[in-house]
Structure formats: C-alpha cells, structure tokens
Amino acid sequence: MQQEYRSKSYSHIIRIILILIAVVGVGVVVRAMVMPKSFGEFGHYRGDAVVDEINRPIRNGTNASCLVCHPYIRKMHMEGVHKTVSCEFCHGPMADHVKDDKVIAHLPKKQGEEIKILCLRCHNQIIRARPKESIKMISMPKHLEDQKVRIDHNCNQCHNVHAPLMWVNQAKAIVGAGEDSK
C-alpha cells in the first residue's frame, strides 16, 4: 500500500525535474541566440564595441596634416602669431576635403563679414574674461577709429588672416621703424 503511494509521488517529482531541465535548456539556447558574440569578454558589455569605437572615422586632421600640401600657407601661418590657430576651425574638417589621398571637395574660404565674425570670436574686448597677456583684444569700431581707417574696413584689409602682423610689419618697415602708422 505504502509502496504504491511512493511510486506515484516519484513520477510527479520526475515530471517537475524534466520540466525544469527543459526550461533551463530553452533558457540556455535562447541566451546563446540573443546575446551578442563578444558580450562579457572584458566585462558586462560587448567586447567588439571597443573595436567599433576605435574604428570610428577620424574627420579632423591636424595643422601638420593640412600644411603638408599647402607649403605657401605653412610658411605664413607658422611664422605668424596665429600659429596655434587651427586650420579646420575656419575652413572645416579635413575629411570633407581629402579622402583616400584624393581631393574630393574644396573647403570654403570665409569672405567679407564672415571673417570679421571669426576674428571677433577671440579678439572682442567687449566680452572681457580674456587674459590680456595671451591674446590681443580690440573693440570695434574703436580700433578702426584709432587706426584712422574707414569704419567699414574689414579685418583682412590690414591683417593677413594667417599671419596678422605680416603686412603691418612690412608696412612699418617701409615707412620706417618706430613710426606708429598702422
């Protein structure tokens, strides 16, 4: 009597164990299917994500990379006080210009009023907050009045944008050193 009862109880335990094994099995299979291949390689993340990030295309070059192909600009730019200014700040990223050693498009040159806006991003005295010793500040249009030029003059009429003091110094040399003419 007791024996019979016991055998019945075994069968339902076996059934539960079988179901549990099946659930675990399905779980393992689904996990393997759903989980990305390199997940957990280095931690709780997809290991290949690091590789993806490394392979992100570089779009900005460096000044050195731009000036390799522009030797004339290099001479001017590197000798002037603007040598720390990035080419790509004014002209745009290198990736829009060169791809696989080929020129694919020409970067825009800033013209007219755009130049003035770019200059004043750094040199506008009215903003304050800028260390005087590291960068020269001017306020417009006071600077034009002080230099006795027409009020509608653009910055690049006196200052070469690559070497801002180049023309000024040349003019000084012609007029005579020491004389304060723009």
């Binding site: 280095f42 994500a49 590789v51 295309p57 570089i58 070059g61 731009c66 700040f89 991003r121 800028r130």
Partner: protein, 270 residues
C-alpha cells in the same frame, strides 16, 4: 665614316625624342597620381608611441587625464566647432560646450551658453542690472569618472568602462532608456536624435588610439585644454598636477572621482 656619324646622330635624336616623350608622360602621370598626399592614416603622431600600442586596450603603462585651464580659456568655441565636425553632432546637442560665468558686484552669478558656445561669444550679456565684477569661461565635457554612475545604471550593458579608464557607449546595445542621462552628475549625456541612442564625449577615443590628440585639444588656440599621460613624467598634465596650481574637479562630493581636472576652478562653478 660620314655615314656612321650620320647614323649615330640620327639614333641619338631618336633616343632623345624617346626620352623627352617618356619624361613628359611620366611627369604628367605624377600630376594625376597624388604622391604622398595626406591621408588620415599618416598624420604625424601627437601622442608619442601610441601607434605601437595595438592591443584591444591602451597598455596599463598609460593613464590618461584631461585638464582644462579656465584661466586660459577665451571662449572662442574652437573646441565646440571641432567637436561638431568630428562627430557630426545634430544641432542642439553638445558633446562639449563652453559656459560663460558672469559675476556682478552683488555676487550674483549668471551662467549662459548660447548654442553651447558653438558660435562663440559675440555679444556681452545685457540683462545684468549691476556692474560686472568678473567674467570667465568654463568648457565642459565628459568627466571620465573612475566610478561612473552612468555605467552602474545601464540596464543592458550598453555603456561601459574600458580597462584603460574610458567610459564609452555601445550604440548597438543602447535602447535609449535615458537612465544614464539622468544618472550623470555632470549632464554630459544626451539622446542623439540621429542614432536614437545615448551619446556623449569620449575624449575622442578613436583619435587617441591612433596617436592623435582629442579634436578639441588639437584646435585650442590658447592650450586651455590639455590631454596627456599621467604616468609620463614629462607630460604637461603630469607637471600641472604635481606642481602648485589651483586644481580641482567638478562636484567632488558625488564620489565619482572624475579624471577631468580644472585649473583655476572657481567656487561658483563647483
């Protein structure tokens, strides 16, 4: 005799013409095939020895840190422009931005950042009733915390800290739930409307791995942003952190231990 000379001369002429023709063709080919033009792969290295470091992660010998010197920042926004160009960040989203702090004589602090500093600061603030005592700029970017709260909260393992200390985002895993955006004490994260995933500054991990400085550091005209190896005793960041400077991090009380340090950080910013 004459005959031989004549023959010799005519052969020479032929050889000469051949040479000239060959030279011309070769020369014109040189013009068509760009020789030694700059490609992204052969830009001169800015971080010495970085290109030999070819493992999955940067070797343990290096420990990178970022320093922003706010006494040098002139608020030109070069960094923001470079950053937008590098990642083609959608308008209205900023991986890095520059804040302007204005303190008036009554010690009120006004902070603004029109378009994240992307257009620079062309106009002074006109809405301040008292005379201005002090003005300065504070560039902001990812703090690359040693204990990043964004990584802790991510439910799908999409944001993670690499073994070399960079906190990155896997945009194939990210479900844009936005937990990390809320968890970040420095508000550097946003949901990128283009990729529909969380996005943030990575200190230009892809550039650093290829030996280049982060785009913003590379363009900064006053060297207000510095990036370098703390284990290299010759690097500028090492020198700054080991010399008397007013160096601080943002929100030190949060316990995130940022690797981004600020030189000359003011009480008003922290």
């Amino acid at each position: 005799m004459m005959d031989i000379i004549q023959k010799e001369m005519s052969r020479d002429r032929r050889a000469f013409i051949k040479n000239v023709l060959g030279g011309t063709i070769a020369g014109s080919l040189l013009l068509v095939i760009p020789a030694g033009a700059m490609d992204m792969g052969n830009i001169p290295e800015q971080i010495p020895g970085m290109r030999d470091d070819s493992g999955t992660f940067i070797s343990k010998k290096r420990k990178f840190a970022f320093i922003v010197d706010i006494t040098r920042c002139i608020g030109c926004g070069s960094c923001c422009v470079a950053d937008k160009n590098e990642y083609q960040v959608p308008d209205g989203m900023y991986r890095t931005w520059v804040e302007r702090y204005v303190i008036d004589d009554e010690d009120n602090v006004y902070v603004d950042s029109p378009n994240g500093g992307l257009d620079g600061y062309q106009q002074p603030r006109k809405d301040i009733p008292h005379p201005v005592r002090d003005t300065f700029f504070v560039p902001k970017l990812c703090n690359m915390c040693e204990h990043p709260s964004c990584v802790q909260v991510c439910p799908v393992g999409a944001t993670f800290q690499t073994e070399d200390g960079f906190v990155l985002i896997d945009d194939k895993r990210c479900v844009a739930c936005g937990y990390c955006v809320q968890a970040c004490p420095y508000s550097v994260r946003f949901i990128n409307p283009k990729t529909k995933t969380a996005d943030k500054c990575t200190w230009c991990y892809h550039r650093v791995r290829k030996g280049l400085l982060p785009a913003c550091v590379n363009v900064c005209p006053t060297q207000a942003r510095k990036f370098g190896d703390l284990n290299d005793k010759e690097s500028e960041v090492y020198k700054i952190l080991h010399q008397p400077h007013v160096v601080s991090v943002l929100k030190p009380g949060m316990g995130n231990k940022p690797s981004l340090h600020y030189v000359g950080l003011r009480r008003e910013v922290v």
